[in-house]
């Protein structure tokens, strides 16, 4: 299999990468670019732990070939913070302890961003629906829902 050269903009940084056509976006991000915040869970698009935002849309990076993302912009959790300052969604997850083991957390944060970008004031039911593609075994979700609500509250105040 011959490698294909692709161009991406990942977290604002232009990247040119030569990769085999069967490499998933997930493995490209993890293995070529070492963005380990993009986690591999089920590899079937069920758990959401590999969520990234591709050209403004939330995707499971395990279900997309890297070549399909050629020329597109990708946001991973590593691109959320502004230097040392956490994004308000990240800060809300810290403040509300919206994580335990952390394996789902980064995907959960990108799902939350995707939700709040479209709906800045979601109801509890809308939050549940928005996170239905993100599996968490540790928390029982209560503190995750509270984190999303806290983030929505902060961001309504004009931040980000």
């Amino acid at each position: 299999m011959e490698n294909i050269t692709c161009n991406f903009v990942v977290n604002g940084q232009a990247e040119e990468i030569s990769l085999p056509p069967n490499r998933t976006l997930l493995h490209m991000l993890r293995e070529n670019l070492l963005f380990h915040g993009v986690r591999e869970g089920c590899s079937h698009g069920e758990c959401g732990s590999c969520n990234v935002i591709l050209d403004g849309k939330l995707v499971n990076a395990c279900l997309i070939l890297a070549v399909e993302a050629d020329g597109l912009e990708i946001l991973t959790v590593e691109g959320m913070a502004d230097g040392e300052d956490l994004h308000p969604i990240q800060q809300a997850f810290v403040d509300e302890s919206g994580m335990q083991c952390g394996a789902c957390t980064t995907g959960m944060i990108l799902s939350t961003k995707n939700l709040l970008d479209a709906n800045p004031d979601p109801s509890r039911e809308e939050i549940k629906d928005a996170l239905a593609g993100n599996f968490c075994r540790c928390t029982g979700y209560a503190k995750i829902f509270e984190s999303v609500e806290a983030a929505a509250e902060t961001m309504k105040g004009g931040q980000q």
């Binding site: 869970g41 959790v77 302890s97 083991c101 394996a103 789902c104 944060i109 549940k128 209560a142 503190k143």
Partner: protein
């Protein structure tokens, strides 16, 4: 607690009981937290495992020559390389080999492994290994496996009996004779997945320094001992480094996996680091799962609801190997004498080998099964006798101090208080008005359960801690205890900082590195806060003693008068004599030729004798009590159950980190919800039919109810600051309360978990037919 408070003032304790952020929160939200699969070493190879296509078969031959010819392939490992080494829980149960030897005993058991330049090559090469099998008849049902003539999973074990455990206290026959009502029912619990999201993974190195392995383990000192034994190395040459761990919940991440042994063996053969990451299908088909059990329960009850005797018989599907199964069997019995008064109890537990993947520990280990059976049977009998579900629990609930008939000593108990809290809710009081007419009916159920904290088993039990004082007044805290996500690192840092009067930021916890941190039994059985917590306190106290000696010299007072709080050291009753903690540290460290201040501590809770064989004595250090109300909506047409509200009143002694305690209660209840309604491996001739997360259904965001949580403070004398278990209680209380709620909605008692829509629809249909037949008869 009150004495010390009086000494230090109103702001003590300054950290315990506070809603502080987790110490690992920032790295978990910004992507910095590194898990085993995130480690890459220079020159590393990738490993893939070849797994058995049969559930039970002789291995006639293995020929890896074609695989080894493939470009990029560096080495293969088979059972032969391990030279008959086997491992297991006890000296008589070392029945498991790293790779299948002579025969395979479950579908997808590891047979060989390949190390290659990349993952794809390793996987392709595995397919080129030629294994010739001779299929054997398998046995896939525990009761069938017990019969004479059933296929034998291990040639030396007759009737496939892996382990048995028996208890007999009081006189059950006398108890049943005294009862007004005796019932016998059969209950079944499901075969469930622990459900961690991070699959087993490791990067292993083997060189003259010995083994170094970065491995996803919740109990890293298990694999430390197992690797030393397997590779015949002294423990001092086995270095297990623990990255962040993406969930554990017992079983797999307590033990070694085939992957761990093979990666180390391949690293030894190739002299290069070897990495592997299991995929989720390997997790679902080969990792240790909860035992599914048949529980035959017999209970005697007087007209007033008093329980006179309980007899339980457990048959557990153990799968192909013993693993930690003997402890599971012990726990199914020992804890049945809590939390209700019981003078007569008999228990017989049988763990049976089958050609299924191995069953082992999972959160609520052993206790969930028999407690589910006893809770539901107690309520069924109360129902027959016209006694309210709350009343029957209040009549039988123990009060502290209490000693069970098998020698469990309970010093604090918040069960009755918890039951009062859940029953004073409007959800309970107004349950009949809230029922609704259908087709969706609201049901409400309660439960009252108990769990142990500071689990004990035979052998190594203690936890240790080392606290190193840095000369700038900050602290390195070394513990062998590990945080698999539950938040124990945060609680342990809190305890060290609290003892020293420092802030959370002043204390840095080192994750486990067996070359550096003190040996520890592991994170299981709700033991970390209690035992590692006590060790942490004691180590910090040793630092305090050394610093207090230095301060006592300066101020010419007795060392006992020196107190530590708010980053300040001062003389009790003499506020003018005080200085910053940092300054005292520097004085103490720089005095004379210089001092190095190190504190060490060992846990001392739970050291009294126990009788593991007879199930007598304390299985834990102390005991939590959980009272729960569950409200569910049942659709009588589709059988769909939706959990709406969980109200949980938990007695964890004292919540040291209230946010973590809430989170643990919510998380354990979530897993209990899965066990009650959704989760069960569907097996066919040894194959796991639902081997992906898509078709093995665990609860997602949309399945979760609203939680209302209450802490019951009882300040147990056997835990740091009064703490007891907080991470398992609600996995035990959730299934019976949900099943009771479904009964409230449907009038049907379900006795087999999970209670799926199919079971509900069929049972409602049968009920309707019975009622119609009754009407016909009455005409």
């Amino acid at each position: 607690m009150s004495d010390q408070t009086a000494k230090i003032g109103d702001n003590w304790p300054s950290l315990i009981g506070k809603r502080l952020p987790r110490v690992d929160a920032v790295e978990k939200v910004n992507g910095d937290a590194k898990y085993a699969g995130d480690f890459n070493l220079a020159g590393q190879l990738w490993m893939k495992i070849l797994r058995s296509p049969h559930a039970h078969a002789k291995i006639i031959s293995i020929d890896a020559s074609k695989a080894l010819e493939m470009p990029g392939v560096k080495a293969v490992v088979t059972a032969e390389d391990f030279n008959n080494w086997s491992w297991g829980w006890g000296p008589t149960t070392r029945d498991e080999t790293p790779l299948a030897e002579g025969k395979v005993r479950y579908f997808a058991e590891a047979v060989a492994a390949i190390a290659a330049e990349d993952e794809e090559t390793a996987e392709e090469a595995c397919a080129l290994i030629d294994v010739i099998y001779e299929e054997l008849p398998g046995v896939f049902d525990a009761e069938e496996a017990m019969q004479d003539g059933a296929p034998q999973v291990h040639d030396y074990v007759e009737n496939n009996q892996s382990w048995d455990f028996h208890m007999d206290y009081g006189d059950v026959e006398k108890g049943f004779a005294e009862a007004d009502l005796v019932r016998e029912d059969r209950f079944e619990t499901g075969r469930t997945l622990t459900g961690f999201l991070e699959p087993p993974a490791a990067v292993a190195q083997y060189d003259t320094a010995g083994i170094t392995i970065y491995a996803a383990k919740q109990s890293p000192y298990f694999i430390y001992r197992q690797l030393a034994s397997c590779f015949k190395l002294p423990l001092s040459k086995v270095r297990v480094i623990q990255p962040y761990v993406g969930g554990g919940f017992g079983g797999t991440k307590n033990d070694s996996t085939a992957g761990d042994f093979c990666a180390v063996m391949l690293a030894k053969k190739t002299k290069r680091p070897v990495k592997f990451v299991y995929n989720m299908e390997e997790v679902l088909t080969t990792c240790r799962r909860r035992h599914n059990m048949i529980v035959d329960c017999k209970m005697g009850m007087k007209k007033d609801g008093t329980i006179t005797a309980v007899q339980t018989k457990v048959i557990a599907d153990g799968g192909a190997f013993t693993a930690i199964g003997p402890l599971t069997m012990y726990l199914t019995g020992i804890m049945t004498t809590l939390p209700y008064k019981l003078d007569n109890y008999k228990h017989d537990a049988y763990r049976i080998f089958t050609n299924h993947p191995v069953s082992a520990a999972m959160r609520g280990h052993g206790v969930t099964h028999t407690r589910f059976a006893a809770e539901i049977q107690m309520e069924k009998m109360a129902d027959e006798l016209g006694i309210d579900p709350l009343e029957v629990r209040m009549i039988n609930a123990i009060e502290a101090p209490h000693e069970t008939i098998n020698g469990i000593t309970v010093d604090t108990c918040g069960l009755k208080e918890g039951l009062e809290i859940v029953s004073s809710s409007s959800a309970w009081k107004d349950k009949d008005q809230n029922k609704k007419d259908g087709p969706v009916v609201r049901g409400v159920g309660i439960s009252g359960t108990s769990h142990l904290g500071g689990a004990r088993q035979r052998g190594h039990q203690s936890c240790a801690a080392i606290v190193r004082l840095c000369e700038d007044g900050t602290v390195n805290y070394l513990t062998g205890a590990s945080d698999a996500g539950q938040g124990s690192d945060t609680v342990l840092v809190q305890l060290v900082a609290e003892e020293l009067g420092l802030t959370m930021e002043d204390v840095t916890i080192q994750r486990v590195d067996t070359a550096m941190t003190p040996v520890d039994n592991g994170s299981y059985g709700s033991r970390v806060t209690i035992l590692a917590g006590q060790a942490a306190q004691k180590a910090a106290q040793e630092i305090k003693r050394q610093l207090a000696d230095a301060a006592a010299k300066i101020w010419e007072v007795e060392a006992e008068k020196i107190l530590f709080n708010d980053r300040t050291v001062f003389v009790d009753g003499d506020p003018d004599k005080s200085m910053p903690f940092k300054k005292l540290t520097q004085i103490a460290c720089y005095s004379e030729s210089g001092a190095v201040i190190i504190g060490k501590g060992y846990s001392e809770y739970g050291l009294e004798k126990m009788d593991f064989e007879k199930g007598y004595g304390n299985p834990g250090v102390n005991y939590s009590f959980t009272s729960q109300l569950s409200a569910v909506d049942v659709d009588l047409e589709t059988g769909m159950v939706s959990a709406k509200d969980f109200l949980i009143a938990h007695d964890c002694g004292r919540p040291l980190h209230p946010v973590n305690v809430e989170a643990q209660t919510q998380g354990a209840a979530s897993q209990g919800l899965g066990q009650a309604l959704y989760e069960n491996f569907k097996m066919h001739e040894g194959r796991t039919m639902n081997s992906t997360m898509v078709n093995y259904m665990m609860p997602l965001s949309t399945e979760h109810p609203d939680f209302e949580l209450h802490d019951i403070i009882t300040d147990d004398p056997h835990g740091p600051f009064g703490a007891k278990e907080a991470s398992e209680g609600s996995i035990i209380s959730t299934p019976p309360s949900i099943v009771s709620a479904i009964h409230d909605a449907t009038g049907i008692w379900f006795t087999k978990l999970p209670v799926t829509p199919e079971k509900i629809v069929l049972a409602l249909k049968e009920k309707k037919e019975r009622e119609n037949a009754q009407i016909e008869e009455n005409k």
